[in-house]
């Protein structure tokens, strides 16, 4: 960077830098929307079922490839996003019912469960390879017209995805705060045993959480595939790191924390990659995870309950 400025008039250089900042914040917000969507799904499921699901990334890839298949059938992209999301939600419930719940009943330790979800994730990834092959895929150019807004240049697709995320987050907020189901979910998240003894069917709540988490996951996968130029079966597992960073930043198990965390991670990595080598983008996410873990494992917004959940 310092070398680049020498040839140009100083003022223009400065303006360009500011423009770069503004623009990269815009990109960050767009990327943050996808991140928030994914991270909320990840954290919601953890908060309620208390299992860290590492196969979440692979489920995202499954969503992206389902989307690819449906686009091949000629469906509208936003319809694909909804159907794909629901389909991944169903996969997620199957994963919970068929694998996780029986193992939890058998008394498997959390560490064992992590290994199980890692394995399940790898199996899922290679199912994709077996069916669709290892090649790089693309949705084609779906970005639509470019919009100028507050000095940001964004594509229609980015704006629509942002809008969808906002709507989903609002919906989740209303669900959690205004409905009986949401109260039951929050109760289960805070204290499962107590919730069960209060007559809440915690295993059903847990199914619903896995379904919602899977739906968010699938939609995030398709949204990611829309905004990215090309992808392969590792799409989701690569994206898992910034998602975990978002979740950890906001406090694992805290949906609102994950929303803000997603935005922060999105903007910070976008801005940093504008001024630094983009190859290091995920290093920022990694740094966030390690620093948060060592300094404040409960996350920025984690409550005392969250602390007790996380500390051994």
């Amino acid at each position: 960077m310092p070398g680049a400025g020498r040839a140009r008039p100083r003022l223009i250089y400065k303006e360009a830098l500011v423009h770069l900042l503004v623009q990269s914040i815009g990109f960050g917000v767009a990327a943050g929307a996808v991140l928030a969507l994914g991270a909320v799904g990840f954290t919601l499921q953890f908060g309620i079922s208390n299992v860290l699901n590492i196969s979440y990334g692979s489920l995202m890839s499954v969503g992206a490839f389902l989307g690819l298949f449906m686009l091949g059938l000629g469906l509208n992209i936003w319809l694909v996003m909804v159907i794909g999301g629901l389909a991944v939600g169903a996969c997620s419930v199957v994963l919970n019912r068929g694998l996780i719940t029986p193992l939890v009943r058998k008394g498997m330790a959390p560490f064992g469960l992590v290994i199980v979800t890692v394995s399940a994730g790898i199996v899922l990834e290679y199912v994709i390879v077996a069916v669709a092959g290892p090649a790089t895929q693309t949705y084609g150019n779906r970005s639509g017209a470019t919009l100028n807004f507050l000095g940001w240049t964004l594509t229609t697709a980015q704006v629509v995805i942002f809008a969808i995320t906002v709507v989903l987050m609002l919906g989740l907020h209303l669900l959690l705060t205004r409905t009986q189901l949401g109260r039951a979910m929050r109760a289960t998240s805070a204290n499962r045993t107590l919730a069960r003894s209060c007559g809440i069917a915690t295993s059903r709540i847990s199914d619903i959480a896995w379904f919602m988490s899977g739906t968010f996951c699938g939609m995030a996968g398709i949204a990611l595939a829309i905004t990215i130029e090309s992808f392969d079966f590792t799409l989701g597992s690569i994206f898992l790191i910034p998602m975990i960073a978002a979740a950890v930043l906001g406090g694992v198990g805290q949906p609102y924390g994950a929303m803000i965390g997603g935005m922060v991670v999105g903007i910070v990595s976008s801005v940093s990659s504008a001024y630094w080598d983009p190859a290091y983008q995920s290093v920022v996410a990694f740094g966030i995870i390690i620093v948060m873990l060592l300094v404040r494992p409960r996350g920025l917004f984690g409550s005392a309950t969250a602390t007790r959940k996380l500390l051994a």
Binding site: F111, V118, V123, G133, Y280, V283, F286, L293, L311, A312
Partner: protein, 298 residues
């Protein structure tokens, strides 16, 4: 707790060995950037790899020192292993970036290929025997007992006067040194090393080996590693390649690995071989030295 970032330790050994033996740039097309340019003898480089492995092992271990839930820690370990590969892949001037290091000299290059291969086998066998003996020092007798106690309940162990930090870092360092040596030996044989060789799935392969063999049993772990490495990952290459489906056989290999891991954790979590538990007999009364410390299967 198993170290889910163990692959990073192996990679540290492999890279260390690589950069210490590659020698200065003597024109292999100039595509490779040289970090150090040393050409150290084989054994020196292996020892350096062991040290590097131990150091990296300890550094990774530090993140585990905070009192955090096991699964949370496991997640961080996974993130570390993915990140390490990403970072090194992204920096072409450091450790060769994505293409990695290649043309690492074979220690037996001056022997004929056939003798060279046998020499390599003999060397690995020797390393395994030494490794096994060193490992026994740690896993049998009082030291093994203390380590198993730490594994079961660290805080109760601390209440018994054991320093959690010291014991953890000790195990990380020893485990790291082992990983470093195995990385060095591996890279000495295959001659090249790149981030692609130690991605996320390779971590699973290591884990599967440990789980199938039986976590608490040295022999089981060794055998498990052998079976996984030879039969599963190399064996699939002998399956007929299906033309229309590139990568299918590889995919089958990894899927089998994942399913095997889950199946074992579900059906036989102790692995094929159980942990050996020493039995202690009651010392004969009035005969101070006469007590028998008998070891056998528990």
């Amino acid at each position: 707790m198993a170290n889910l970032a163990y692959i990073v330790v192996i990679a540290a050994g492999a890279y260390t060995y690589g950069i210490l033996t590659l020698g200065p740039d003597t024109g292999n097309g100039g595509f490779q950037q040289y970090v150090l340019g040393y050409r150290l003898p084989f054994f020196v480089a292996v020892i350096a790899a062991a040290v590097a492995g131990a150091v990296v092992g300890v550094l990774i271990g530090v993140t585990g020192l905070k009192r955090i839930r096991q699964d949370y820690q496991a997640m961080v370990m996974l993130v570390i292993s993915i990140m390490a590969a990403t970072v090194i892949g992204a920096a072409p001037s450091f450790l060769g970036g994505e293409p990695g290091l290649s043309l690492i000299p074979n220690p037996f290059a001056n022997l004929s290929p056939a003798t060279g291969d046998w020499a390599y086998v003999a060397m690995v066998a020797f390393a395994c025997v030494v490794g096994y003996l060193v490992m026994r020092r740690f896993t049998s007798g009082p030291m093994g007992r203390a380590l198993r106690a730490m594994r079961d309940d660290e805080h109760a162990a601390a209440a018994m006067g054991f320093s959690i930090v010291k014991m953890r870092l000790l195990t990380q360092a020893v485990g790291g040194a082992f990983g470093g040596v195995s990385g060095a030996l591996l890279v000495a044989f295959i001659g090249g090393w790149s981030p692609g060789a130690w991605a996320y799935v390779e971590t699973l392969a290591l884990l599967t080996a440990v789980i199938v063999g039986g976590m608490g049993n040295d022999f089981g772990v060794s055998l498990g590693t052998f079976v996984i490495a030879v039969l599963l990952l190399q064996g699939v290459q002998f399956l007929p390649q299906i033309r229309s489906h590139t990568g299918l056989t590889e995919a089958i290999g990894w899927m089998t690995l994942g399913i095997l891991t889950i199946a074992f954790l579900w059906l036989r979590p102790q692995g094929v071989f159980r942990e050996r538990r020493p039995r202690y007999g009651q010392p004969a009364v009035g005969n101070a030295g006469g007590g028998e410390v008998a070891e056998g299967h528990g």
